[in-house]
């Protein structure tokens, strides 16, 4: 089994168009949540989201390419480009033939489908755009990354709601660790801010009309976000040999299913995924200093997640720092695991733990150290990123600081 390094990351989110914007915002506790620029915002019961601002698709892609690229695919491509550039990947014919692309997305290109259905149902047309299917398919992100770089090894997409990209990254990690592939581009992207999708979330009654306040007693639900994040994973030895600079190591992956309720999470199920990630990583609970929580800011998640962390870590939970960066970049659904994996990698690399922003009042049922509002300078040995999806599908990733390797 090989050790696996993260040698590059890319992010586009409400916190900025690149990794640097993301890092700066997380470390200064800046929140990217604000009024949506959705054309039909007046017909929605909530007005705020974590939208990507200052992004001009035409500046990044040719008109010819954009015909094929739904917004979630654009995010996937931009994040992959930044990650691959940072990693300084030296493409050889063999690497292209063997490398993997594993992405996650929950909603995929449903906004492309919505545009087609509007033509049918609203505008009385009897046909939809011929690119509706290729734009809409959830694997379009993985496909376009593979096409752009000529990556011909295993390529696929995982869709497990809010755990999608954590499951994707975990599987990519296992592919690299086992020696099945020499490199993986992995992460996820999501563009869920289209009218029909927003209406569906409205009906779930879990979206805040205010902002995202995870673990805070006066929280009022989640805030949807859009964006994408990708990581380059490769064997640590190979990375060092070619002079790449590892940002952190990815060391463990745990999965579980609640086998309970379609929307209510179970602390037992989540705790089993945490324990499984620690076991896979060969980490003792005491080695973990930080958890990037799923932390959606629904009462159901925050209380259950707190209980699951206490259950998995026992006494050590008292000494853990736990934050939800969704308080800043929103809940990006199928991209959440990827954005938060990057946040975790940056926390390990820089020795700065991102805060839980918008925190006001403690909730006795969420009594962990949630790093309220202000980032903390603290170097930790290992960190986890939690993702718990509707449907009871849990994925937890474990990372270790390269500084102490």
């Amino acid at each position: 089994m090989r050790r696996v390094a993260v040698t590059g990351v890319g992010v586009i989110s409400a916190l900025g168009l690149n990794q640097e914007g993301f890092r700066e915002a997380l470390q200064s506790g800046r929140c990217g949540i604000g009024p949506m620029e959705c054309a039909e915002a007046n017909d929605l019961r909530f007005k705020n989201a974590a939208e990507v601002h200052g992004y001009d698709p035409e500046a990044k892609f040719s008109a010819e390419d954009l015909v094929f690229l739904d917004r979630f695919v654009q995010f996937a491509l931009l994040a992959a480009e930044e990650a691959i550039t940072q990693a300084g990947v030296e493409w050889t014919q063999q690497l292209r033939e063997e490398a993997a692309v594993v992405t996650g997305s929950c909603m995929g290109g449903r906004s492309a489908e919505e545009a087609g259905y509007r033509e049918l149902f609203q505008h009385g047309k009897n046909r939809v755009h011929p690119m509706t299917i290729p734009r809409g398919m959830s694997n379009a992100g993985a496909s376009h990354i593979s096409m752009k770089y000529g990556i011909q090894g295993p390529a696929y997409t995982v869709s497990t709601a809010c755990s999608s990209s954590a499951h994707a990254i975990g599987q990519a990690f296992w592919l690299v660790r086992s020696g099945a592939v020499p490199m993986a581009i992995t992460g996820g992207s999501e563009a869920p801010l289209f009218f029909g999708g927003l209406k569906a979330w409205e009906a779930m009654r879990v979206i805040s009309k205010d902002t995202c306040r995870p673990f805070s007693a006066n929280r009022s639900g989640m805030i949807l976000g859009e964006g994408g994040a990708m990581l380059v994973l490769e064997p640590l030895e190979a990375a060092l040999a070619r002079g790449a600079r590892p940002m952190a190591e990815i060391v463990g992956f745990g999965m579980s299913a609640d086998a309970g309720h379609i929307t209510q999470p179970s602390s037992e199920g989540a705790a089993r995924a945490i324990r499984s990630a620690l076991r896979d990583a060969g980490l003792a609970p005491e080695q973990v200093g930080y958890i990037n929580a799923h932390g959606t800011a629904t009462e159901m998640n925050d209380r259950t997640e707190t209980a699951s962390i206490r259950c998995a870590f026992g006494e050590h939970a008292e000494r853990l720092a736990v934050s939800s960066t969704k308080s800043m970049h929103g809940h990006t659904l199928g991209a959440a695991g990827a954005l938060e994996a990057v946040a975790t990698v940056l926390a390990l690399r820089d020795g700065v733990l991102p805060p839980t922003a918008n925190f006001t009042t403690a909730d006795p049922a969420c009594d962990l150290d949630v790093i309220p509002n202000v980032a903390r300078e603290l170097s930790v040995e290992a960190a986890l990123s939690n993702s718990f999806a509707f449907g009871g599908l849990n994925a937890v990733l474990a990372f270790r600081s390269s500084a102490r390797a």
Partner: protein, 87 residues
Amino acid sequence: MSETIQERIFRVISTSARIPLTAVAPERTFDELGIDSLDRLNILFDLESEFAIEIDDNEARKATHIRDIVSGIQQLVGAAGTPAPGR
């Protein structure tokens, strides 16, 4: 005789949550009736259709007993006049 608002609410809850109409009473809690968070979503959705109203998420979250729903709906319907059922 036409249904009262309370009777209409009880009928919607009974139908939506698939529980006997006789089990639905003001003093009962959702938990006692085995109504979980998804059943609540369906009930709220059906009540909004029945009375052509919009029920606020935060207000809905506070309701623990059937009577909380009845008083909340009575206020909303009072504020909106008396719309036809199923509008």
